[in-house]
Structures are given as structure tokens and as C-alpha cells.
Symmetry: C3
């Protein structure tokens, strides 16, 4: 019997419902949809990193990474990233930010697979990302 | 060689195409996108549980659970839930229903991760949910 | 330590960012979101198979299959397909194409689970599909 473990980085606000920011069971780690919220400040509502796609994307990456690391994984273990944007016109800029970010991460393993689609998100949010990682 | 098994609860209408309501292979169980259809009645078209978000969400949960259980799993094994809503204004109400439902389920393991996005769905449907479970 | 391997079929254009068309680690193979691009021609921009849903869907299937096969898998190993359409009115036609295609593939294992939602995609694209496979 492998235990299912909730992953809750100290930087994260409590989820707005009964879900976990991440869960790990054996070698499988799933990161819930992350958005550009700044590290949680007790007693204050979640605050977005900024109005720009760049600010939100970089903060979203930081939030995904925090969950991965809290769960004993890293970007190299990520198999799939799902990127949700609100505007097709953001695709090129998101890719630029994405490429620059992952270049700086100096990954040893190949880049994860990815799907990008354009959906609705809560007001003020321009990007959401979730990730599936396989460790071991 | 691990066998891939189709999961077809008796309550479910036949899928409208060549896909399975769920599949299991070894410890991985994937539930296809479920909506608020009532248990199938032979010779009748699928019928939605009702026009409200509450009715549809609870029926959708029941349908996901039926697939999990038919496949030998339960909510405690779910790693990821993907919730598709059609209207950002439904987020708060969905979370209320979500929280109350899972409180009643008396889970022993931590809550699954979750991503919620806002998409288009076939006319009359307000919510769709799929789930990835890891057993063992 | 199981190695994470990038899957890059020779038919595929380079991804527009630092992601892989597919990755495999142990028994898990993830196919990135595929669209209806024709096999890559060096020095030319990616070209869509055609303006119709049929052309794009069949080419998308071919692209998913190419990633699966390059990674040592096939349709029989696919657990989950995520189908992204841009128009609810395309559902029935997509299902017809889907059913006919998979009938021709003569699968030995049960059909994969599936979720279909309606999202925005880059201009000119009517369908995108990604897939999770479990081998072994």
C-alpha cells in the first residue's frame, strides 16, 4: 500500500476548496492548477503578482516549482504541463517567457510535453498551469 | 504484460463514440469526462439530472464515483480532478457543493489536486469532470 | 533511476517552445497537444492539413500516433485522450471521424477514456488532441 500525500508549500494560500495544491503517491506527483498568486500573507486574500502576462507567468512557474520541490521532485521530473491562457494573442509572449525561464533552470532531462489552450479564467488571471510529474 | 480494462458502470449510457467511461491498467485508472446524466434508461436518450449547477454537479460526482468503484477504486485514490465549468460565476457555488460533497464522503486520504477552467460544453451542460486515480 | 526520454518523430516540426512532442519515463508516455500540421518540410513554416475538421482530425491522429510509435507505444496503450474543439457544432462530426478512424486501427485493447471540451485555439486550427499512455 503506497501512501497518498498532500503537498502544501508554506508559500501557498489555502486552496479555496477541498483540494490539494499537489499530491504524491509513489512515483506519481500531480500539481494542481497554479496561478500567479504571490506567496501567502496570513490574514490577507491571495494577491496576483501583477497585471502583466510576464509577472503572472513567472509567479505561476514559481508556484508550480514550489509544489514539485515540496513533494521531492523538480522540473526534470515533469512529464506534462498544461498551460491555460485567456487570449490567443498571448501565445508568442508566453513562449518567450517559457523558453527563457526553462533555459535558466538548466534542466538535465528533456523538456516536458505541453498542451496550451485558451479558456476562461477568474477575473484578473491571464494564465494557469498544472503539471504531472513522474519520479524515480 | 498488464491488461488494459474498460470500465463501464451499469448506470452509464453508452459513450457517444469509441471511448470508454474509464480504463484501468495496473495501478492507473482514468475516468473519462463525466457530466450530469442520470442513470441510463434503455431505449431513452441520456437525460440531464436538472438545469441547476447543484443537480448537475452532484450527478457528475455520482457518475465519476461509479466509474471509480466499478474499476476497484474510490475517491481516496484520485490524484487529479479536472473540473470544467461554463461560467466563471459558478466557481463559488461549485466549491460549496464540492466541499460539502467531499465532507460527506469521509475520505481517509488527502484531497486530490484539481484544476478548474471555463470552457464551452454541449448545450444544457454546466459542468464536466474527469479524474486520474492511482491505486495500490 | 528511470530515464526520461524526449520523443521527436521525424515527421514533426520543431516545437514552438521548450517542450517535447512526447516524453516517456518508464511505462508512462505523454503525448503533447497535437494539431493538424502536415509532416514538416525543412525551411518551411508548419502547414495545416486543410481547412476542414476531417482533414485536421485525421492529421492530428496521425501526429499523435507518430509520437506514440516513436516512443515504443501504440493506440492500444492510450489511457486518455483529451480532445479540444473550437465549436460545439463539430462534436457529432468529430465523433464520426473518431469512430471510423479507430475502427480501422483494429485495436486489441479497449478504447481509451476521453474528455472533449470547447476552447479557443490558434487561428485556423479546429482541433487539438493530447494523450496519456501506459505501456507494459
Amino acid at each position: 500500500m503506497t501512501e497518498k500525500i498532500a503537498i502544501t508549500p508554506s508559500t501557498h494560500t489555502a486552496p479555496p476548496a477541498r483540494f490539494s495544491h499537489g499530491v504524491r503517491k509513489g512515483d506519481i506527483l500531480q500539481v494542481a492548477g497554479q496561478v500567479g498568486f504571490l506567496p501567502a500573507v496570513e490574514g490577507r486574500a491571495p494577491e496576483v503578482a501583477g497585471p502583466s502576462l510576464r509577472e503572472q507567468t513567472l509567479q505561476t512557474f514559481a508556484n508550480v516549482k514550489a509544489v514539485l520541490e515540496e513533494g521531492g521532485a523538480g522540473w526534470d521530473d515533469v512529464m506534462m504541463m498544461r498551460v491555460y491562457l485567456t487570449d490567443v494573442d498571448h501565445f508568442a509572449e508566453m513562449n518567450e517567457i517559457y523558453n527563457a525561464y526553462f533555459e535558466e533552470q538548466h534542466l538535465k532531462a528533456p523538456a516536458a510535453a505541453r498542451t496550451t489552450v485558451y479558456v476562461g479564467l477568474p477575473k484578473g488571471l491571464l494564465i494557469e498551469i498544472d503539471a504531472l510529474a513522474v519520479l524515480g
